[in-house]
Symmetry: C2
Subunit: 197 residues, 2 copies
DNA sequence: ACCAAATCAGAATGAGAGTTCTGATTTGTA
DNA sequence: TACAAATCAGAACTCTCATTCTGATTTGGT
């Protein structure tokens, strides 16, 4: 054929995800992306399209990565409240004390792009609903194990946990200490537990 | 003396607050501000300084406005859980179904500016702590009225409510319906109530 | 009425953005 | 080996931004 591509799109997209996650959409320039990934403008535009389209693909990969890394285990039978707690602990560890200022790409999208970009808003809604649903399924398993009160509406609680995750991310980005975030996780998960003590 | 200023700084700052709230820092240009406020560049720079400094003043006025409008009543004796619920209801009403895409300036600041701007991050921490403290004081009053469980650590719960407010704002900006946000408010406040039923 | 100082509206400036274009380079195939 | 197609690095282009500058205008004090 001809000259072959010298970069792996998936790897490149991962680096782009990191950039967008830490700085957001507007604050990340194509020049930043070229420098960080080492991929030429030609390669970026030819492979991913415009910056806006690149962002959409980064958002999808970000969600897929979080899904595989964290939320998949909630869909397996036997998922427990500890699994949910572990997800929060992992995310909290990423959020604070991190020099990389790693942020939440969902929040960046919601604040910067969602209001003006109907398509991206739809994508974001779908991803957030998926997240809430995964929490709900995990909560249902935990309920079967007697770890969650029978009074809890798992769908509503799933949305609560999604919302909590975003609140934590905002506080983490503002520089609040890990102890504060841990306290919020404890309160939230504690409120779902059986009231017997 | 000489020619007098033709605008009221406080009124202008209110308009700037609205702009920054709905679009964030980067997406709001000085041209936007000139057009919306009707104030000349000369007036803006002379009165408020650079865009970054203008934003800081807008953030302070935003917080002060929210404080006077919503949180002051929590500091009065006799504050009840209904006062807290009313604050959430008002904020939720602003967040969704709004054509204005009114967002939360705290979140914009946290996501766009806080990591890079140490001073602004400090300001934001102070404002958020004040918000948590107001919640805590309100919760303490509500506890005295028997509306909140005696087991609740009001300081921790205050931080929880602050975090919840941010989670709600993110979901609202993503376009989730009011019912979803109301459900989260109900779950959160419900978890604080006395467990007797 | 007139001066001086501060205002206004908008042009000018310089930096940085996203995107496209260009010549040189690489690589699979004939 | 030579061709052709696709890549690369980076210049070029156009636009927007924040900020400064400029000439005209307003206004309080003498």
């Amino acid at each position: 054929m001809n000259r072959a591509r010298t970069f792996d799109p998936h790897t490149t997209l991962s680096q782009v995800v990191d950039l967008f996650s830490s700085k957001g959409y507007s604050e990340t320039s194509m020049e930043d992306i070229v420098q960080t990934t080492g991929v030429s403008r030609y390669g970026l535009y030819g492979t991913f399209g415009t910056k806006r389209e690149l962002f959409e693909q980064a958002l999808e990969q970000y969600a897929e990565g979080m899904g595989k890394q964290s939320f998949l285990r909630l869909l397996e039978p036997g998922a427990s409240l500890d699994h949910i707690r572990a997800i929060f602990d992992e995310r909290v560890a990423d959020m604070c004390c991190a020099e990389e200022h790693k942020g939440c790409l969902f929040i960046h999208t919601a604040m910067q792009l969602a209001p003006q970009d109907e398509e991206l808003r739809g994508v974001l809604q779908r991803l957030m609903k998926r997240m809430s649903k995964a929490f709900a399924i995990g909560l249902d398993s935990a309920k079967g194990r007697g770890e969650v009160s029978k009074d809890v509406d798992v769908d509503a609680a799933g949305e609560l946990l999604t919302s909590t995750m975003f609140g934590l991310a905002v506080l983490g980005r503002t520089g609040f200490p890990k102890a504060t975030l841990d306290g919020i996780v404890d309160s939230t998960l504690g409120s779902l537990q059986e009231e017997s003590k």
